[in-house]
Symmetry: C2
Subunit: 177 residues, 2 copies
């Protein structure tokens, strides 16, 4: 499906307050071609929700929660991951995307207003999806859409139970098994 | 800033449960070049949050809450708005984007799993941003990014108090007044 290995790493997940935003973030990571999403706080209910989506719609996207982010980042750097931090303070995506497309492994840090200073320092690229405040969910989607040049519309997720059949009006769901 | 007049219309906003997702949605609409976002349920706190962003970062993006969506859609259709409904069940964006770019006024309906059947019927285009489940916030961002062909990175928001200066590492905020 995609040549680049991509792990999304979400800082500051609070299971009670962030339930919907974190679910959206994980689902965006999955739909737009990341392979894994890691969250700092343990959250079995988030893991279950994503497992249910895989079971229904296919693919092997993985969610890990309760991850020690600092160690994970260090480990990934050792393994040759390029670290991209999405932040409204960074350099606009159009100036960096060509360089980033040349990498084979990406660790994409997604935070929010309160990310530690360390994220800015450890990142190989601090990338802004416009310099306006908006949403980490949107930033991740636009980043991955640009990275894959729209190829997410062609992705296949194998092994699911159902599949949406695009239609002009209404809903068509194909049952596969 | 943009030739097409765009209003985003959000169905099913619940102020307590959806606070963050609806704020993200409004901020994405603003940052990616929509002119207004309308929500069905009255929510003064959401209106205030967006007004604060305008005050700080500029522009004249407008939020209306407590809007009767059905009447608003009918009125907009009379005024010549083309109605685009973002839904995972629709026709993939790449097949429709050229046609949609030719319109002068767009009403973009954003719902969720429980939108009324009426949305599918009233829409001139039911558009999917992939046929995988993910996030209405991401769907709106990718839709507007494609519509403007990435021009959101060049948008200027006039009259703000501060402005982000893109930088390689850390945060630079320029105070304008």
């Amino acid at each position: 499906m995609c040549k680049i290995k991509i792990i999304v790493l979400r800082y500051g997940h609070r299971p009670s307050r962030d339930k919907r935003v974190s679910t959206h973030l994980a689902l965006v990571a999955r739909a737009f071609g990341a392979h894994e999403a890691w969250f700092d706080t343990k959250d079995e209910s988030l893991e279950r929700r994503i497992a249910q989506v895989n079971e229904a719609f296919g693919g092997s996207f993985a969610v890990k929660t309760g991850v020690d982010l600092m160690s994970a980042i260090k480990e990934a750097k050792k393994e040759g991951f390029c670290v991209v931090h999405l932040t409204m303070y960074g350099i606009p995506l159009p100036q960096l995307i060509e360089e980033i497309r040349g990498k084979s492994k990406l660790l994409v840090l997604v935070g929010g207003p309160k990310v530690p200073r360390y994220f800015y320092e450890v990142a190989d690229y601090n990338v802004s999806i416009t310099n306006q405040p908006h949403s980490e969910v949107a930033a991740l989607a636009v980043f991955l859409d640009w990275l894959y040049e729209g190829d997410e519309f062609n992705f296949k997720f194998e092994g699911g139970r159902i599949e949406i059949e695009p239609c002009v009006r209404g809903k068509k769901i194909r049952v596969l098994r």
